[in-house]
């Protein structure tokens, strides 16, 4: 008897639940379908790395070929060159462009004239919203061999022949990293500035009473206080090590600088879309995607161990 009652109870409970919440499920239906179609179908589309693609026979390929494409890129010098270029560029970028926003935020925090501080901040994160195409186009004009200001100065002051900077292999990495500094310093600094703003003022008061100079206050109060934020950002950056600014590299890529500018993403783009080796390019893309997810999860685990909290 009691059993039956509970059964009915549960049934009506379920019915009530549906009556109460069906609208929320209806709301979710369309975006969820969208999400499965545009995010998860391509994810399963990676199966193409193990299957041969034939035009007109669907995006998932035709017959299984196992690890053929993986073996092929494993012995392809172009792949290893792209792999090395990706790693080198990311590591230099991390070493240079990780500390710069921190230093910028700390120095900006030392500005005592508030309207000026606000103006610098507003201007400093504007580059983040300017299209990469525009950034590269402006750079192209600044560095142009005939009319660019850099080459004019070189010619007039040092009497040296103009350099076609954008086309030269040895300037590629420098240019990439400087563009990244220009685009993201102010933007990334927002996070550190927020952390600095959250430092309790009495810490500084106590330091002042103890006779600490402003310089000492930075080293003994500010930096230790924002250390957790710095660690979290570092871990996030390590997790994203393989994802460089693909569009930037693609725009800076020329056949002359390809020895250093061909990264994994541009290799996938060229072999896949320009040469239509879909399966081969998918295999390379999948490989770098898997390394990416390993990097993210291990840096997250490291963060859990070090700071007691994961980023995700």
């Amino acid at each position: 008897m009691g059993e039956r009652m509970r059964g009915i109870d549960q049934k009506t409970k379920a019915q009530l639940y549906v009556i109460r919440y069906w609208q929320l499920y209806v709301m979710m239906a369309l975006p969820l379908l969208y999400f499965l179609l545009f995010k998860y179908v391509p994810m399963f589309g990676n199966v193409l790395a193990f299957r041969r693609y034939r035009p007109g026979m669907g995006p998932f390929g035709t017959e299984w070929v196992g690890l053929t494409y993986f073996k092929r890129f494993w012995s392809d010098p172009a792949f290893w060159r792209a792999f090395r270029n990706t790693l080198v560029l990311s590591l230099i970028n991390l070493v240079v462009n990780f500390p710069i926003p921190i230093i910028f935020a700390i120095l900006l925090n030392e500005v005592r004239i508030i309207p000026f501080k606000r103006m610098v901040q507003t201007v400093s994160y504007m580059p983040r919203f300017i299209s990469t195409v525009v950034v590269i186009a402006i750079l192209g004009e600044l560095l142009s061999p005939s009319t660019g200001i850099f080459n004019i100065l070189r010619q007039q002051l040092l009497d040296k022949a103009p350099i076609y900077f954008i086309n030269e292999e040895k300037y590629f990495r420098l240019i990439y990293i400087l563009i990244d500094t220009w685009q993201f310093t102010g933007w990334t600094a927002i996070i550190y500035l927020a952390a600095i703003t959250a430092i309790p003022p009495d810490l500084y008061e106590a330091a002042t009473i103890d006779g600490a100079s402003r310089f000492q206050q930075i080293f003994y109060v500010t930096i230790p206080s924002i250390m957790p934020t710095i660690m979290v950002m570092l871990i996030l950056n390590i997790g994203r090590l393989l994802s460089l600014g693909f569009e930037k590299v693609l725009l800076l890529y020329t056949p002359d600088n390809s020895m250093v500018s061909d990264i994994i993403d541009t290799l996938v783009y060229r072999t896949g879309l320009a040469n239509q080796n879909y399966s081969y390019a998918t295999a390379i893309g999948l490989f770098s995607g898997i390394i990416g997810i390993i990097l993210v999860s291990s840096s997250n685990a490291l963060s859990r161990r070090l700071t007691g909290e994961g980023v995700y």
Partner: protein, 288 residues
């Protein structure tokens, strides 16, 4: 004591020097473009123009708007930005609202799907093949549909909806409102800041996108950024009339005019919108 004071003064000087340098580095490239775009070709070829325009003329602007391909690309970009942002916001709102209720059965599972897809995605080729097998290549929808939901923006919205006190919804339920009514009449009117933030991020994304135009569209559908990229790469002439090619100085002022025109909407709106941008990065920084 004196040495510390000198050191402190030196430090202050250095701080302000760094800030002035930052301002200059951020602004000079844009000012340089403006100067080039309104200078006479003769002054440009004689290398007389840097930040101050010389022989001021608006010829370049008058000219680019007579090029049908620039005009069309500019219009296309406006279309992609407005349509893309509208579709995006509509889809993200109806997705984020149910997901902001952790007690709703299944919402946690969907949330996990969303988060996982931020770390592992289909990659370029599978995405390309999906879009082409849906028959979207060479249609304007290829610029809009695949990017309608951005996970970062979605989480931002979810977090915002979660922060709205639940009492409001309970009162509305007692008053007999259904969920759609609650969303439209209570939640959305309270979400202005969050919607502005997400809307702006989305609009900037669509405004600046060129790569997907390159791989999916035909030239009459190109957005203005792709048009500009093709000029920069030298794969297409600035306009039908610019027979001299992009290396001539006439092309420099015209190229600069294209750069200025295509960046102008962002620069003009920027001072009004920037407080939302900042709010967004801070909400987004809180873990989702």
């Amino acid at each position: 004591m004196r040495t510390t004071r000198t050191a402190s003064t030196l430090f202050t000087v250095m701080v302000y020097a760094v800030m002035v340098f930052t301002l200059a580095v951020c602004l000079i490239p844009l000012l340089y473009m403006v100067a080039l775009s309104i200078s006479s070709p003769k002054a440009i070829i004689n290398n007389e123009v840097f930040l101050i325009p010389k022989g001021i003329t608006f010829e370049a602007y008058a000219q680019i708007f007579t090029y049908p391909n620039f005009f069309r690309a500019y219009g296309n970009t406006f279309f992609y930005t407005f349509a893309g942002t509208a579709i995006s916001l509509a889809l993200m709102i109806v997705f984020a609202y149910p997901l902001s209720k952790p007690r709703l059965k299944g919402s946690r599972g969907v949330m996990k799907l969303v988060i996982f897809s931020m770390f592992f995605s289909g990659g370029l080729i599978p995405n390309y093949l999906l879009v082409s097998s849906l028959g979207l290549t060479n249609t304007r929808l290829a610029m809009l549909l695949p990017f309608a939901i951005n996970q970062f923006n979605l989480i931002l919205l979810i977090n915002f909806f979660k922060s709205i006190p639940g009492d409001l919804e309970e009162a509305a339920i007692i008053d007999g409102l259904d969920w759609i009514g609650i969303l439209l009449r209570i939640i959305l009117p309270l979400s202005g800041a969050a919607l502005a933030t997400v809307g702006l991020y989305t609009a900037v994304f669509f405004w600046n996108d060129w790569f997907h135009g390159l791989i999916y569209l035909k030239s009459s559908q190109f957005p203005v950024m792709l048009f500009l990229r093709n000029i920069v790469m030298g794969t297409s002439m600035v306009g039908d009339a610019a027979g001299a090619g992009d290396k001539s100085t006439i092309a420099i002022s015209i190229k600069s005019a294209v750069i200025v025109t295509s960046t102008l909407p962002i620069i003009v709106l920027y001072p009004f919108l920037q407080r939302y941008f900042v709010k967004g990065v801070l909400i987004g920084a809180v873990k989702g």
